[in-house]
Symmetry: D2
Subunit: 201 residues, 4 copies
């Protein structure tokens, strides 16, 4: 059995996600799912964007959307068609302030695409642009350095997990839950996902 | 509060990770950490590899290794120096059978690098190559289609989460725990991580 | 006017490409174009692969195939569907020996995809797998070190441009020529290419 | 011998590059080289950026800078440290107007990094930000559709090569020339480049 800070931090992250999932709004989740499902039904495309580790979480979800039969693209990769009116841009940013993500969301919005934001901050620049927003709990500020050691030694209430970890992990698990709900709504089986999985890797 | 299959699946994933973390071997974790710390101390480099969503989990960990002051590279990206004797290759593959990952591990091993594998299957081709192995619990086979609907409707015990999801999520949270233990062992604060975080994004 | 070794090397590369284009087989070029055009007509997909700078040349061509309305994907990127029978794998490797490229070509071939190779060496592992091969002139071996300085100082006949440069540059210009012939054969205008160009960048 | 529009267009591109190389300013080239060499000498880092095919050209140069022993990174890839004062940002954009590239150049400039621009338009937003600029000839506007067919049929003077092709190809060959001059100035042999070439691919 794993011990030490690895275990303490992993358990802390799991506990955080458990509580965070409870706090995500059901109506926001529904609006998000409906936006994806409508886009699929109408032959529209989903574009995903995010920087750093949030970008990796966005890509992990994009892979599953591909397996679910969505027309999906990642901003910044080689194969990127133009976004058009009524396509969907899914932007992932904990702070909602990452410049490149906000710039892409603004460009997509100007073209008439629907912007979906996954962010901790509804009042952020990204939050304000979004047509659909799902608030994902995360850290609200950079913990002060002194606090960090205090909580390591004394088990005080600030999280062990640094920087955006809690937001990224919560978003990943939430989106993996969304995948299961999409499977169910679309009547897609795991075997069908498998059939759309890359075989050159 | 989020409801429906999104919540059910997210909770199932969280429960799985909780149990899975318990099952990870402490001595395997220790060997993994020591390999990373020795490499850092001796000016060696860490290379990470993985395909698909496992590759994204590997990249998310690579970013944190960068923030921790490691010399770290991602196989397949533009800036990739040659691996040399006593560098570390960290390979992430649930099945341990992904061809490109196994081929890279073989090449690294032949050069004299130390191969660390994160996999569910110690007896897989990747598992057999590895110098250091951390067994991460995950699905052991593709669920049969009929089972899938049964469990959706009737709450039977097979997981909702499709394909490699449980392995990927468990590996991500485990590695985020490892990051905290590395911070502690190296005496690196969150503010220091922040100082090494990308500012062009 | 630019002077010095920058100019000398650039002119040498241009001269090389000029002669190399003359040496490319017209029937090989025709077979390559027909393979692409047939795939497009039959709703098949093009997958491209290559390592290092050859991989970048492959990606540059993939972007233009997208602009030309092809269904095109890059092996190793996030959005990668499975390759199926009669899809096309375009593999770029000067030596024809790059392990990951050969492994991908083998996997594609086993599935029944058509493998197109752009390589200097028809007898290489990649060359032998290929259904369609275009031989692109390039360096035939690593120049010896002493030769290198000799030719810098004395203008001897070995190329200034190091490693795979001549192959990569020739392949890029050849493929840009192919793009123009595809535009003509498909009756696609530059304005239509522009319409399919990414607008989120 | 290759014939048809593939050959015509390839020859046109080669002719263009030949003339374009003549038009690049020697003093701009010198300032560019000196900026790179100074950064290397002072332990500073080079960051490269560019969108689409210009981004691929930037990456191809970044690989060679790595082989030459530079500390080099690609904006947008996993391993990206923060840029600091006196680091170099090399931005490639034909139009000088690509939003993400301009945004990154602005961010780098604000931090005190030196911005080097390779662009056709010195008066563009990117051109105006740049500390060092190398003007690379390219298309000056999108050719009108009618002109396109005219020139295909009648050999009129507008280029066959669409969109940014001439800029991208010229920039690639120019940078490959710069690599040879850097090899010479640094006394680095081809064998030494080879030693720093990736071996996991």
């Amino acid at each position: 059995m794993v011990t030490g800070l690895t275990r303490d931090a992993a358990v802390e992250i799991i506990d955080f996600i458990y509580k965070a999932i409870e706090l995500i709004s059901d109506s926001e989740k529904e609006a998000f799912l409906n936006t994806l499902l409508e886009a699929r039904k109408n032959g529209k495309r989903i574009f995903v964007t995010g920087a750093g580790r949030s970008g990796l979480v966005a890509k992990a979800f994009a892979m599953r959307l591909l397996h679910l039969g969505f027309n999906v693209y990642v901003v910044g990769e080689t194969i990127l068609p133009p976004i058009v009116k009524e396509d969907v841009l899914l932007a992932v940013s904990g702070s909602g302030r990452t410049k490149s993500v906000v710039a892409i969301a603004e460009a997509a919005k100007a073209i008439g695409a629907r912007v979906v934001a996954l962010t901790t901050f509804p009042d952020s620049p990204l939050g304000k642009i979004a047509d659909i927003l799902v608030r994902i709990p995360g850290r609200t500020k950079l913990a002060k350095e002194e606090d960090y050691y205090v909580r390591q030694v004394m088990g005080v209430h600030e999280p062990l997990a640094p920087l955006g970890t809690l937001f990224e992990a919560t978003t990943m698990i939430f989106l993996d839950g969304v995948v299961v709900e999409l499977m169910n709504k679309l009547g897609i089986t795991e075997a069908e996902l498998q059939e759309r999985h890359a075989n050159l890797e």
